[in-house]
Amino acid sequence: MTGASKKSGEKLSEAEAIERAKQGDAAAFEVLYNLHKRRVYSLCLRMTTNTAEAEDLTQEAFLQLFRKIGTFRGESAFSTWLHRMAVNVVLMQLRKKGLQVVPLDDENEGEEETPKKDYGAQDNVLAGSLDRLQLKNAIDRLPPGYRSIFVLHDVEGFEHNEIAEMVGCSIGNSKSQLHKARMKLRELLKTSRAEKAIKP
């Protein structure tokens, strides 16, 4: 069945929506937006930790996508294409704001950026008791450079070579910063847990 012969009320598949959007069909744009808005917005929100800014960036990412949709040839998955675009929009915004996007090389890092080698106590193990809200809050408290790498790798599932290319650092640096981000998160989570335990 061609797109044009679809009856009113039938839901469009993503492939059909892409083809229709290339022809300027408003409903197709809306279908694509609704299919991907959560993932793009979540990415923007995790990276910026600000809802208003995340909404603006979501809007900008989709706008760029819709402007370029005519050039989409389907060599990669549409979601990958959109997601890359969203990441670039966010990274550009972070750079505009002068926030650290490219992780510092190890030798240039300040002492306070290096997480403590805190082994923790046996009775304070995170595994098995990690709740999403705690983790979200801890990610929000990460320094921007750590947060970018952590979100791109652990939340969004990008590989180190992709991150290195997008962010503009070496693969080794990406791995090293990811590790430090996880260590910092561990420290934040344990501190938060200890504070809660002290509260009456």
Binding site: G9, E30, K37, K117, G157
Partner: protein, 209 residues
């Protein structure tokens, strides 16, 4: 192998399996074993955070306006859910649009008033409102006429948005029920009701077009 030596190699091996002397150290050292276990828990917990937030309906409304202004979208399609009049028929829509705009504003004001009253009442009763009191689209009883006037796609989008915002309201109410002094949850609840009013408002606009 010392703990320090083990930690030096950790960034490289954490996402895979420990082998050789690293595996031996990991098995023998409870501190390093706990560390690896925590870092892996953080990593797998992060994967579950993906795509669980939703932008407000304002984002699509702005996008739609921009796309229209740039001429990237055109006539309504047969798929339904198209909210913009075609350029060809735009002149014909001008007078209809004017009336619709007046009606939409009036309806919006009424809805906002209604929502605001509900919102205030819910916020005031934060801890006493039963969880789920507004958490399903089925109890939004005023929707019937609104839904009847919509195309299937627009209806599906409206219902999805409403479900999502109701879910946010439910979450905030549940949090408030547990912790009535939680100011963040109270603000979140107010915002969710505000978003719900916006969903209605957009739906009214659509059904009038």
């Amino acid at each position: 192998m010392t703990c320090s030596e083990f930690q030096d190699i950790l960034p490289e091996m954490i996402d895979g399996d420990a082998v050789g002397e690293h595996a031996v150290h990991l098995k023998a050292c409870s501190d390093c074993s706990e560390l690896v276990s925590d870092l892996r828990a953080i990593s797998s917990g992060a994967k579950l955070l993906c795509a669980d937030d939703e932008p407000s309906p304002r984002v699509w409304a702005n996008l739609q306006r921009t796309l229209e202004a740039e001429g990237l979208i055109h006539a309504p399609s047969q798929a339904g859910g198209v909210l913009l009049p075609s350029r060809r028929h735009r002149a014909r829509w001008v007078w209809v649009g004017s009336i619709a705009a007046v009606l939409a504003i009036a309806a919006g004001l009424l809805l906002q008033k209604h929502e605001s009253a509900r919102s205030q009442s819910a916020v005031n009763q934060g801890s006493t409102v039963p969880a789920g009191a507004t958490a399903s689209t089925t109890e939004d009883g005023d929707d019937e006429q609104l839904l009847a006037d919509m195309s299937p796609t627009a209806r599906s989008i409206y219902e999805e948005n409403l479900k999502s915002v109701n879910s946010s309201i439910h979450d905030a109410q549940a949090t408030l029920a547990q912790d009535p002094d939680n100011d963040d949850a109270r603000l979140f609840l107010q915002d969710a009701f505000h978003q719900k009013a916006m969903v209605y408002e957009l739906a009214m606009d659509r059904s009038m077009q």
